[in-house]
Symmetry: C2
Subunit: 334 residues, 2 copies
Amino acid sequence: MATIYDVARRAEVSPATVSRVVNGRANVDAGLAERVRRAMSDLNYRPNAVARNLRRSRTSFWAVIISDIGNPFFTAMFRAVQDVAQPAGYSVLLCNTDNDPEREEQYVDATMAEQIAGVIISPTAASPHVQRLVDARVPVVVIDRLLSDTLVDTVLVDNDLGAEDATRHLIRSGYRRIACITGPQGLFTADRRLAGYRRALESEGIKYDPDLVRFADFRQEGGHQAMESLLSDPVRPDAVFVANNMMTIGAVGRIFDHGLRVPQDVGVVGFDDVPWSLLRPALSTVAQPTYELGRHAADLLAARMAEPDREPTVLTLPTELKVRQSSIPRQRQD
Amino acid sequence: MATIYDVARRAEVSPATVSRVVNGRANVDAGLAERVRRAMSDLNYRPNAVARNLRRSRTSFWAVIISDIGNPFFTAMFRAVQDVAQPAGYSVLLCNTDNDPEREEQYVDATMAEQIAGVIISPTAASPHVQRLVDARVPVVVIDRLLSDTLVDTVLVDNDLGAEDATRHLIRSGYRRIACITGPQGLFTADRRLAGYRRALESEGIKYDPDLVRFADFRQEGGHQAMESLLSDPVRPDAVFVANNMMTIGAVGRIFDHGLRVPQDVGVVGFDDVPWSLLRPALSTVAQPTYELGRHAADLLAARMAEPDREPTVLTLPTELKVRQSSIPRQRQD
DNA sequence: GTGAAAGCGCTAACAC
DNA sequence: GTGTTAGCGCTTTCAC
């Protein structure tokens, strides 16, 4: 592999000049620059990014650390990050923790060791790792979680309001015994969405009943089991608010398995869209602006890199209730 | 940030000894090693991976280059790769090309510049980039495509047979006017699946009719449009074989939009499962062993890294036809 | 078993 | 505008 010295020798200039040409610095004589470019192409020279990274003591990578690569929420967000990063000359590393704090730690360690230029992370429940990144002055943006003990750029949606809208919509559609399947207790989004559900009930004069609440794992299988548990109750709910997309899939499947109809027997509103229009009945959901979330996170990251000492920003984006078939009982459909 | 020199000074040994301890080399006196470990922890020392990379002239990254991060086929495969890579001490970079050859080139360049240790790639149609990687002696495994002009480790499924099975199943279920929506002409999987479709027709004595074939883009929207085009024909097909999962979603949605029923009016078999069990009717598909594909690709990559001059292997895994509701017309269901 | 020292390929002072 | 040179932090001969 040709190095910058080989090119310099061939073009009869110094390595410094070659470096300047490679990096597009203006202050190089046009003739020299041309000679350098010829030499580079003659030798099929490719700069060694690792050497550059060492010298500059940071890389041209961003890392996105997420908990579930199978969830379209994260992949859509990732795509947005990539769309911002690539034109800016950064490649994006996707790290999938499967909600395992140990894996998260491993990735955060790797991130620091590899001198990653910036990190966008959706941390697992109690995450001291973000603090470590902040302490090491690695630019970080937290997405989808609000960390109470760490001052850091953050992008969220209004989980409370979204869940409240969804639940109120179910109430106003005539459902009365409304269950809630939320995520692991202590996980920010799970707690906020449960809180929104509760607030809607209480503001509409329906008593909050903890027996109608299930805590699952935000995955399809969890939604499946939680629904099973709800349906095996002597008095089954007539509607359910499910706090994420994957669990909604699982929950609705279970409703069908019991021979029940959606929305006639059980009304359903999920949280976060699934990008697939095929589902029947079409699911009512609290849509999150996933792409926007990613784009804002990427923009915040870029801003922090440009200005490391700026005040941390917390951005809360609105959700949008999309009413489709799964929450409109037959008698009200027309 | 503490360096290896700081640790050496504090432990009163040489940097070489610290390096040996960090890398777990055996030939270090136990007492010294202990002293070094203490110093490391005192100073909160973290090895600088970039410097190590430069010195070793390769990184501890693998890159997976795919065409669509929104397709569960690729994310499942990625997960498998990650599961092999991580215990082996590698982090995995996910590169999403959106089927854009330019983006692919950019990623291949970055891969080489960053001295990525190994690459798993599902190349776009005509890909000279893989040859470049091979020439540069970067360990590469190609997945989901057979490159005719490049000798390289490859993991495939038997596309021909899978498509043939699917189509024959439709024929035997009583469908006669069977359409095919495949991917972009020239793309390996698209061509092979079309060939399998054709072979089934001909072996069952049905004339192959090019008017029943549509070439789309392997994405939901493409399936949507292709189905629209098929349904606007004066004589509409009574079944369709769709050559990938995303297009199947789009196609079935369009069938519904036309007020037609699946499978009574139009039978459907897709290629590659979708992880959502919720779809109604449940889709008959040619299931690919996605996780296995990824695992084998990762294993081949590891083998190539260990033994750069081994003969390239081409692995072809079987598919499995999963007959569900979408291809069993009512009169035959019982 | 341990240390001294060279150098991976590049960039950025600094000198001219 | 261009060249000289000193490292970035680590690993790895090689000598002892």
